[in-house]
């Protein structure tokens, strides 16, 4: 099988400090990959580069053989709109739009997206559709953010500490949902976390340390989200 995303010798320098020191990796389609590492290891920087939110200082990122690092700004915007989605730790919902509108804004084309009602039922937010983000709890907001990200059926879902602001129950729920969506929609999930338990649920765990891949491990027996033991 061909990789859906490929990074070649990615380097990133911030204020004369090398954050990433030449990372190369391949991500297979319909996989759940965790980028694991302590704070400051460079995992979020790597995720941002892979998702086109940040340009590398050197190196290339390929999406199905197309070098996204060579894309123009407009090509990159089109790619983000059609092929990938992001989920952030702080949800980043648009406060002036209702839940329904927040989900709809993530849809590229009304014809190609998932049915909103079905998705909202799956994510248990169907009763919140007319509410505003400020009226929701953190867990609810993150589920709305997931709905916004997946409604367009992206090929890749980039999650940056998506459970970082949630309690145990909500975190388990979110991780379980992401696994379910990966299975049912054929998504490729790349999940940045420092949580070892979440890593246990992934197909593959890439550990980043000091801007380099420290370990790249295929998880032979991933646990289910509800089996995670929250420390």
């Amino acid at each position: 099988m061909e990789a859906i995303l490929k990074a070649e010798k990615i380097e990133k320098i911030f204020k004369q400090e090398k954050i990433l020191k030449g990372i190369s990796l391949e991500i297979m389609p319909n996989s759940f990959t965790v980028l694991l590492g302590p704070s400051g290891s460079g995992k979020t920087t790597l995720l941002n580069i892979l998702s086109g939110l940040l340009k590398p200082s050197s190196g290339k990122v390929y999406y199905k053989d197309k070098a996204i690092t060579e894309f123009s700004k407009n090509q990159l915007a089109d790619w983000k709109r059609k092929n990938v989605s992001n989920i952030f730790q702080s949800y980043l919902l648009l406060n002036n739009l209702t839940v329904r509108e927040n989900i709809e804004i993530g849809m590229f084309s009304p014809d190609n997206g998932l049915p909103l009602d079905e998705l909202s039922h799956l994510l248990e937010i169907h009763h919140l559709l007319d509410k505003f983000p400020s009226e929701l709890s953190g867990g609810q907001q993150q589920r709305v953010a997931i709905a916004r990200a997946v409604i367009k059926k992206p090929d890749i879902l980039f999650c940056d500490e998506a459970t970082g602001a949630l309690d145990e129950n909500n975190s388990k729920k979110v991780v379980a949902l992401l696994h379910h969506l990966k299975q049912s929609l054929g998504l490729t999930v790349i999940f940045v976390t420092h949580n070892l338990q979440i890593a246990e649920t992934a197909d593959r765990v890439i550990t980043i340390k000091d801007g380099l891949i420290h370990q790249d491990k295929i998880n032979q027996n991933p646990i289910s989200a509800y089996e995670m033991i929250w420390g």
């Binding site: 980043l92 648009l94 590229f108």
Partner: protein
């Protein structure tokens, strides 16, 4: 796209107070322009289509042109000021919404699509404000039309605007404001999405500015160093206050100068001019015997050559001062008449062309050129006139001694080709300056309003930036009075400081405007100011500050009494 517009429009409209003030600024900007052009465009077209103009029509046409130039200059100044306000507004807005904007970019919205929202919003706001100004200008232009009818005995004046004026008044400001809104989006467009996501969303300034503010605050005497530090940390609010105070001072001084320049010119044409009739003859005559109660003079038109241009002047020559006419300086002292080789000039030549006493100037009369030394500046010189000794003029005109072309007299001389009575002369002067006076009143009004809005905006932006500080201080047990003292009252000495520091530059700006106007229009408008005007500006600034402070006191109390703290701490 619809949802993107909904999100950002709602976010923008949360700043409704700032937007209303900006709308008012835009309205005033176009009001100044349309107020004049409704009374000018149609009538200029009508007068210019006439094969020949009567005296009053000619004067009215000049006045219309002068008003049009004044309106254009005011529009330019207001557009610059309002552009800066737009810049501050959007700069703060973008900074506060970096994360939302980054989120939209991460969702795949192109920069061109997101920025189009801002310029479209700006365009709508600008056109709306422009149309409000147009409507207000339409009705207010009655004032100028009525004064034109009364002062110039004009009839059939029309209220009409040329399509080009409509476009200039509405779309030129809108164009500049849209460019500003686009420019303020550029940092968002050029910054990488991930970096926007990790940006601070508050309006904090950079470390260099913070350090500079701290150092400057240390020079401030007394206990309020913290307040000074807080004020200096918001350079854009400070620049806005500087602009507000300067604009206010400039508008007021300009209005006062326009108003008093008419009076000053009027006075200059009375002082020392004791004759009742100015009798003009077709051809030069020879004075055979002295005439009772009269003073003969020789006149012609000539050009003073400067390095840049020829200045057309009436050249007048008379022998000695007499009880009918005597040249005087600005203190009312009698000046000796020019001797041969000397020339006495008007203050207009000094102020507009920088010709001073002792300067050598070349005077051209009918292809004859002679160099003269400026011996004095006569405050009461006839407008656009210079004085030389009769022997010099007779020589240049190749006339015999004792020639004359006019007589100033107490009685009307029957065989004169043209007689201008003192009453007619004064009436003409009056007409010339009516438009200036109306412009002055409008200037004063608009200056006050624009200055007040800018001051209000500056303090409002500062106030909005300080909401978090207000809540924290309240939490720490500070009374609202103490909070006000710490966060707002500091702007009072800041305003005083800027006023006193900006007074001289403001005066220079007004001098420059008046000089440019005088050169463009051809009517000399001297700069006028005195201690009472400066005191008046200071008092009005205090009054505006008092109103703003009172409004914000209510605001502080409202924030403290509301559950904003709860909301705030939950959102952080």
């Amino acid at each position: 796209m619809k949802l993107l517009y909904k999100q950002m429009t709602k976010e923008l409209s949360k700043n409704y107070l700032s937007l209303v003030l900006i709308l008012l600024l835009v309205s005033f900007t176009s009001f100044i322009y349309f107020f004049v052009h409704f009374s000018v465009d149609g009538n200029i077209a009508t007068l210019q289509s006439l094969p020949s103009l009567k005296e009053n029509e000619h004067l009215y046409l000049n006045a219309l042109h002068s008003n049009a130039i004044l309106a254009r200059n005011m529009l330019t100044g207001s557009v610059i000021l309002t552009s800066f306000v737009f810049y501050i507004f959007y700069h703060r807005f973008m900074k506060k919404n970096y994360k939302s904007l980054a989120c939209l970019k991460a969702l795949g919205f192109k920069d061109s699509v997101i920025s189009s929202l801002f310029w479209a919003f700006t365009f709508i706001l600008s056109v709306l404000g422009g149309l409000l100004g147009l409507i207000a200008g339409y009705f207010a232009s009655d004032l100028l039309l009525k004064s034109g009818m009364k002062s110039y005995q004009m009839s059939g004046l029309v209220k009409r605007i040329h399509i080009s004026s409509f476009f200039i008044g509405i779309f030129i400001p809108a164009f500049f404001f849209c460019i500003i809104s686009y420019l303020t989006y550029l940092p968002v467009a050029t910054k990488e999405t991930a970096l926007l996501l990790s940006s601070q969303t508050d309006t904090s300034t950079n470390p260099f500015l913070l350090a500079a503010a701290n150092k400057l605050a240390n020079f401030y005497p007394g206990k309020n160093k913290l307040s000074v530090r807080l004020a200096l940390r918001k350079p854009l609010a400070l620049i806005l206050i500087i602009l507000a105070v300067t604009a206010f001072s400039v508008m007021f001084l300009l209005a006062y100068s326009l108003h008093l320049s008419s009076e000053k010119i009027y006075q200059s044409q009375i002082l020392g001019h004791h004759y009742l009739y100015d009798n003009l003859f077709d051809k030069p005559r020879l004075l055979e015997k002295p005439l009772p109660n009269s003073m003969p003079y020789l006149n012609t038109s000539g050009n003073i050559m400067t390095a840049k241009q020829a200045i057309q002047q009436e050249v007048i020559a008379f022998k000695n001062n007499s009880p009918l006419f005597e040249l005087m300086d600005d203190k009312g002292n009698m000046l000796p008449g020019p001797t041969s080789g000397e020339i006495v000039i008007s203050p207009a030549l000094r102020d507009l062309y920088d010709i001073k006493e002792g300067h050598q100037i070349e005077l051209y009369i009918h292809n004859h050129c002679k160099t003269f030394t400026v011996s004095a500046i006569a405050f009461n010189a006839k407008l656009n006139s210079v004085y030389i000794h009769p022997s010099d003029l007779e020589e240049m005109l190749s006339l015999p001694p004792h020639s004359y072309t006019g007589i100033w007299s107490i009685e009307n001389i029957s065989d004169a080709a043209k007689v201008i009575s003192r009453y007619e002369k004064m009436d003409e002067l009056e007409k010339n300056f009516v438009s200036n006076r109306i412009s002055a009143v409008i200037n004063q009004l608009v200056g006050c309003l624009i200055g007040s809005i800018l001051l209000f905006l500056a303090l409002l932006l500062n106030f909005q930036d300080n909401t978090k500080d207000i809540l924290i201080l309240d939490l720490m047990g500070y009374q609202s009075g103490a909070i006000r003292k710490m966060l707002l009252d500091i702007y009072k000495p800041v305003i005083y400081f800027i006023f006193s520091l900006g007074l001289w530059p403001s005066m220079q700006i007004v001098r420059f405007i008046l000089k440019s106007l005088s050169l463009q229009i051809g009517d000399y408008m001297p700069f006028q100011s005195n201690i009472f005007v400066i005191g008046g500006i200071f008092l009005l600034l205090n009054f505006i500050y008092f109103i703003v402070q009172w409004t914000f006191n209510l605001g502080i109390n409202k924030i403290i009494k509301s559950d904003a703290l709860y909301q705030y701490s939950n959102n952080e």
